[in-house]
Symmetry: C2
C-alpha cells in the first residue's frame, strides 16, 4: 500500500485505537520539548509522578520565554528548571541560548521521530520529517515518563507545492496565503503534509516557517518529507548520521487535496488582530508604522535576518521607528555578527535584543497605544503584544524591512534595489553550549531540585472516594471559559509554579468569594460546581483544572464540556459529569448537598451516575463520557497518580 509521509511515521509509532480520522489513537513519543513558561509545572508533575529519568530518546528543557527577570521569579524558575533537567536526564538550554523550536531543530530533531512539546508551535519541527505536536504540560510529562500520547486521528491534508518563490516573496508568504484561504480554524483535525516539486526551492528553515504557523490554522501537526535538503541541513549541523530519507510513495494519497503554485504568490500580510486576517501587502501599503519587529520561531532562519540586513544596509530606518531585532539563538547571532549583518542592522538604527522569544509572547517590546507594529511573529491576537489597544500586522522579513525604511507599510517589490539573495550558511557556527547534555544516571540521582520561594511542590491527590457528599458552591451559566476559571496575564502567571498561590485567583472573575468559601470548607471536605453549555472553553491552560482541584473541587456537572478542559479535569482527578436531563440543571442550587454513592463501581460499569440532592428528596441522573483508560485515571486520583502507579509497578 502506498503511504504518505504522515502515514509512514504514524505507522511506526502507533500503539492503540483505530487509525480512522476522528478516533483516538495512542502514539509512542520519541522526543519532548518543554519551555520555561510551561516547563516548571511539567517538572513538578514529573516529581509528583515519581519519574526518575526520562524514558524518551531525547527530552529537552528550554528557557526562552520569560527572560526579562524583572524580579527573582524568572531567574528562580531558571535555576529550578536547570536542576530538574539534570535530575530527570533532560537536555537543558539556558537563557540566552535561543528559541526552543529552531534550537531543537539544529541539535535534536531527527527524521521519522515523534516530538511532543508543551508549546503550541512545537509543530515547527515537522519541517524535519517528524510528527511534532503541541500539547498540555501533563501530556508532555506523561510522554517523558514513557507513556503514549493519545490524540484523535487527524485527516491528512496534502498540499502540493509547485513553481518557485519569486523575488521578494518568502516562506512566510506561503503560510500567510494558506491562512488567507482557510482562516484560523481551517486546519483543525488535520495534519498538513507538503509535497511536490515546489519543495526544491524551500530550505529546511523555510519549511520551519511554514510548519510553525500550521498552529495558526489549528492543525494537529505539519509534515514535510525528509529529503536531500533535510540531509544538507543536518550535515551543516554536523549531524548527517541522524538523517534518513522519508518521502511519500509515488502513489500516496491524502484525505484532502490542495495545491499552491509558489510562482504566483505575492507579499502577504495579516492585519490586526488575527493571523487569518490576510490580504496582499499592496492592499494596506502606505499605512504609517511605529515598529518593525524581526524574529521569533515564525521567522527564525539566518536568511530571515540576513535578508533584512541586506535590505537596510547603508540606509537608515525611518525617524522615530522602533526597529527591533530579536536573534534566534546565540549561535545564529554569532554567524550574523561574523558575516557583517549585525553591523548593517545596527548602522541602520536597530535595537538589538537578547536571543529568545521576547516580544513575540508579550515579554517586552510592546508597541505604543494604537500604533501599527509590523512583526515577523506568528500571532497578532489582541493584546498579545503586551499593549491592550495594539495594532499588530504579521508579515515576512522582506516586508518588515522595506516598511522599516519607509516608515509605512511597503510592498518590498516597490524598493528600488535588487532582491538580496541569501542562503542559510552551509557551515554555520556550531555552539555546543546551546544544549547541555543530560547527566549520566548516577550523577543525576544526586541532583536536588533548586526551588526558589515561588516554586512549590504539587500536593498529593487522593484517589476517587466511593462516596462523595459535597456542597454545590458555584452555579454558573453557559460558555464559562478557562480565563473565567483562572485568568492568564502578568498578575496571575508568575504564580504558575506555586499552586497554593495561583489557586487564590480561581473563579475570581465570576465570584470572588469562591476562594474564601473553599477555605472555610478546609479544601479537603470538597465541593461541586454546576455549569451550563460549553463549560471550559478557550485556552488549554491546565491550571484551570488543577487550581480548583487543589481547593477541593471533586465534581463538575454541566450541560456540556469544552473538550480540552474536560480532559484536564480527568487528568487532575475531578469527575466531569453531564446532566442526563438538562432540566435538572434547575433543580440544583448553591448550598445543596450533593450525594454520589458507589461511584467507582458506577463509572466503571455504566455511563450513568445517579446522584441525590440531600434534603430535597430528589434523585437526578448524570452521565460521563470517559474511556476505560480515563476511568482508571480518575479512580486513581488523576494522571499523576496513574503514572506514578505505573512507574512503580514497572520498577517492581
Amino acid at each position: 500500500m502506498s503511504l504518505n509521509v504522515t502515514q509512514k511515521i504514524l505507522k511506526e509509532h502507533y500503539v492503540s485505537g483505530e487509525m480512522t480520522p476522528g478516533e483516538e489513537i495512542g502514539l509512542t513519543i520519541d522526543q519532548t520539548l518543554t519551555q520555561d513558561a510551561t516547563g516548571t509545572m511539567v517538572m513538578l508533575e514529573l516529581e509528583a509522578m515519581g519519574v526518575e529519568r526520562a524514558k524518551t530518546e531525547a527530552s529537552a528543557q528550554y528557557v526562552d520565554h520569560n527572560m526579562i527577570q524583572a524580579d527573582n521569579r524568572n531567574p528562580d524558575d531558571h535555576l529550578f528548571l536547570e536542576s530538574a533537567a539534570k535530575k530527570f536526564g533532560l537536555y537543558y538550554s539556558s537563557p540566552g541560548n535561543g528559541v526552543s523550536h529552531p534550537v531543537h531543530m539544529q541539535r535534536l530533531a531527527r527524521p521519522g521521530r515523534t516530538l511532543l512539546g508543551s508549546d503550541s508551535h512545537t509543530c515547527a519541527n515537522g519541517c524535519m520529517g517528524m510528527i511534532a505536536m503541541g500539547a498540555g504540560g501533563i501530556d508532555v510529562a506523561q510522554a517523558i515518563a514513557g507513556e503514549p500520547f493519545y490524540v484523535k486521528m487527524p485527516k491528512v491534508w496534502g498540499i502540493r507545492l509547485s513553481g518557485s518563490l519569486p523575488d521578494w516573496v518568502s516562506a512566510k508568504d506561503v503560510i500567510l496565503e494558506l491562512l488567507r484561504r482557510h482562516d484560523v480554524k481551517g486546519g483543525v483535525g488535520t495534519i498538513m503534509e507538503y509535497y511536490g516539486p515546489g519543495l526544491e526551492s524551500l530550505s529546511a528553515m523555510d519549511r520551519h516557517v511554514i510548519a510553525n504557523m500550521g498552529a495558526e490554522l489549528g492543525a494537529t501537526a505539519t509534515v514535510f518529507p525528509s529529503d536531500g535538503e533535510v540531509k544538507r541541513f543536518l550535515k551543516s549541523q554536523q549531524r548527517e548520521e541522524d538523517w534518513q530519507e522519508i518521502v511519500a510513495d509515488d502513489e500516496a494519497t491524502y484525505d484532502i487535496d490542495d495545491e499552491i503554485n509558489l510562482s504566483e504568490l505575492e507579499p502577504m500580510i495579516a492585519k490586526p488582530s488575527s493571523p487569518g486576517n490576510v490580504v496582499p501587502v499592496q492592499e494596506v501599503a502606505g499605512e504609517p508604522i511605529y515598529q518593525s519587529y524581526i524574529g521569533s520561531s515564525a521567522n527564525p532562519g539566518y536568511r530571515d535576518f540576513a535578508v533584512v540586513a541586506d535590505i537596510v544596509k547603508g540606509k537608515s530606518v525611518a525617524s522615530g521607528l522602533s526597529f527591533d531585532i530579536n536573534p534566534t539563538s546565540r549561535q545564529m547571532l554569532s554567524d550574523l555578527v561574523a558575516d557583517g549583518h549585525i553591523a548593517s542592522l545596527l548602522s541602520a538604527g536597530a535595537r538589538l535584543h537578547q536571543a529568545g522569544c521576547n516580544g513575540c509572547i508579550g515579554m517586552g517590546q510592546a508597541p505604543a497605544t494604537g500604533r501599527n507594529s509590523l512583526r515577523t511573529t506568528p500571532r497578532n491576537f489582541p493584546g498579545r503584544s503586551g499593549t491592550k489597544e495594539d495594532s499588530v500586522f504579521l508579515c515576512s522579513p522582506e516586508t518588515a524591512a522595506a516598511s522599516a525604511l519607509t516608515g509605512m507599510i511597503t510592498d518590498p517589490r516597490s524598493l528600488e534595489m535588487d532582491c538580496p539573495q541569501v542562503s542559510d550558511p552551509d557551515e554555520p557556527t556550531i555552539d555546543f553550549k546551546l544544549l547541555e547534555e543530560p547527566l549520566p544516571p548516577e550523577e543525576a540521582k544526586k541532583v536536588e531540585l533548586q526551588r526558589g520561594p515561588n516554586i512549590v511542590a504539587l500536593p498529593d491527590m487522593e484517589p476517587l472516594p466511593d462516596h462523595i457528599e459535597v456542597p454545590v458552591i458555584l452555579k454558573l451559566g453557559d460558555n464559562v471559559s478557562t480565563d473565567d476559571i483562572l485568568a492568564g496575564g502578568s498578575r496571575v502567571l508568575p504564580f504558575r509554579s506555586n499552586l497554593p498561590e495561583i489557586s487564590k485567583f480561581s473563579f475570581e472573575m465570576l465570584d470572588d468569594t469562591y476562594y474564601e468559601r473553599t477555605k472555610e470548607l478546609e479544601f479537603s471536605k470538597g465541593h461541586a460546581i454546576i455549569g451550563g453549555y460549553n463549560y471550559g472553553q478557550g485556552s488549554s491552560r491546565e491550571h484551570a483544572a488543577l487550581a480548583p482541584r487543589y481547593l477541593g473541587l471533586r465534581v463538575v456537572i454541566v450541560k456540556d464540556f469544552a473538550r480540552i478542559h474536560w480532559q484536564n479535569l480527568v487528568n487532575f482527578g475531578v469527575l466531569p459529569l453531564t446532566f442526563t436531563h438538562e432540566e435538572d440543571y434547575d433543580k440544583l442550587e448553591i448550598g445543596d448537598a450533593l450525594h454520589l454513592h458507589d461511584i467507582n463501581e458506577a463509572i466503571k460499569e455504566d455511563k450513568r451516575v445517579p446522584a441525590h440532592i440531600k434534603g430535597k428528596d430528589n434523585e437526578i441522573y448524570l452521565e460521563h463520557a470517559l474511556s476505560d483508560r480515563q476511568v482508571e485515571i480518575l479512580q486513581q486520583g488523576g494522571l499523576i497518580n496513574w503514572i506514578k502507579e505505573r512507574q512503580e509497578s514497572k520498577s517492581r
Copy 2:
C-alpha cells in the same frame, strides 16, 4: 589669585549668593540632561510653565531607563518624550541609542560648561572638565527655562593622583578605593576635583567611571581638568573645536587635600549591600557566583567591554552562570562588533542585551534569590537589582570577567594570562543618529505633544491665598520618609506621568483613608498635615510633594524638615512651617480647623506666622525658613507659576 578647575568654572557661572562653603549660590546652567524615568514629569512641568523653547546651549532628552516595554506605558512615554523634545527644542536620543551619560559625553559635553541633569549620575560628565550635577526634575525644568540653579556652595576636595594603574587594576578600583576610605557620605557637600601626574594614565572614559560614582560618595559634583586627553577624546568624536584647556593653576589650593597613588591599588569590590562596603577582591575570593553583569554608566567605555572580551576569548564562562552584556550605546556596540569583541563574548556564552541602563536600575536581569551577582554597575542597595533578597557585588570589568570564567569571585591577577592591553579607539564609529538635533523654532511650534492614555497634563496651581482655613487630616510622628508619603517601585512608578492616578497612593503606607478623605473635601477645600522630626527624609522624589498638593495639601507643620522635601514643598506651593514651641504639636489633632490669616504679608515680613485652632481658642506660633526667592515662589503657587510669570514677563 590661583584657582582650581572647580573655581574657574564656577566663576564663569556664578550669579548670586556668597561663594562660601555652605551658602546658597545661583549658577547659570549651560546644558541639561533628562532621562525617560524622570523626563516625562520635566516635560509636563515645561508645558505647565509655558516654556516655549529651551534657553540653554544644549538640552538633551534620553530614553535609556524604561525600555522593557512590558505594556503600552513605556512606549507611550517614549513617544511623548520625542514630541516634547521636538516641541521644546531639545536633542532627542531614542530607545536603543544608549545610556545618557556616555552619549552626552560623546555628543554634547564641552569643557568649562555647567550641566544639570535629572539623574543622580549626571556628575559623570565632570570627566570633561565640566561642573555636572544631578538634581530634581523641576530644577532641571527651571534650568531649561533659562533660570539659574541654586545649590549650597560646596567645599572643593582636591584628590592628587600619582603613579599609574598596575595590570588588572582599572578606574573602577580607584573610585572603589575612595568609597572604601570615605564611605557613602564621605563626599557630601563637596566637589571632588582630581589632579596630578596620575591623570596621564587615565583616559577620558576612565575618568567618566570615577566621576560617575562620585554620586555614591554623595558629592555634589566631580571635576577633572580639560587636558590633552579630553582634547584627544573630542577629536575622536570629531568635535575637537569644542575643546578648551582648563587646568588648575600651579598654586591652586583645595578646601580638603587627599591623595591616591594609583600604583599601589589592587582590585577592589563592594560587598552587599552598599557601594561603601568595599574590600580587596582577595578577601572574598572563592565565593560562588550566579551572575556576571557587564555594563552601565559606571563602566561604559569601549575598553570596559573589550577587556572583558579579551579575558574570556576562546574560553567558556562557568556552567550555569548568567553572563550579561549590556552595551553602552549602539555606536559602541558597532565598534565592539567590528573589532571581534562581540564574537568573543558570544562564543564564551554571553547574553547580549540591548544598549541601555537595563538591570543597573532593576529593569530586567534580576538575579535569583540569594545568589551572588557581580556587577560593574554603580549601586548595590538592597533590592535595586529587582530581587528583594539579592546579593550584589560591585567590581571592575576585569574582576567580573575573571569571576565569570571560574564561577566564583576571582582576583583577576590570579588568571594565568597576560593582562589585555586595550585602549578606546581613536577613530570610533560616529553614529549621528544617537542624538536627533533640535527642530528649528518655526517647525517646533507646530509640534503637538503626543500623550498616551497614561500621560496627563499638570493641573493649574492657585497662588497662595491670604487666608487659609483648613482641617488637619493627618497627624504623623517622627522620621516620615518620602517613601511613606509616596512609595516608589513597580506598582506606583508607572503612573509618574499621571498625577491624578499616582496621587491615589499618597500616604497609603501610613493611613490608607487619606486619599478618600481628601476626595470628600473635593481636594480644593484644602487640608493640613502635622508631623514630627525629620519630616520627608529619604529619596528626593518630587511626587511626594506634588501628589499631596494635587489632593489639596496647603500647609505642613512639623518639628523639623528633611532638606530636599522641604524644598520640594516650596516648589509645589505647599507652605512648610515648623512649631515655634514644639509642645504645640500636642495641641493639634486630626479634625482641628486651622486658621492662618494674612499669610502673604506674614511670610514676607517675618519668619513667624501666627495660627488659630478654631473652636479651641488657641493661638499657636509657627515659623518658616524661606528665602525671599522662595517666599515669592510660594506666593505664586509654586515654581511652575513663578517660572511661567517670568517667561511671560520676559516675552512682554
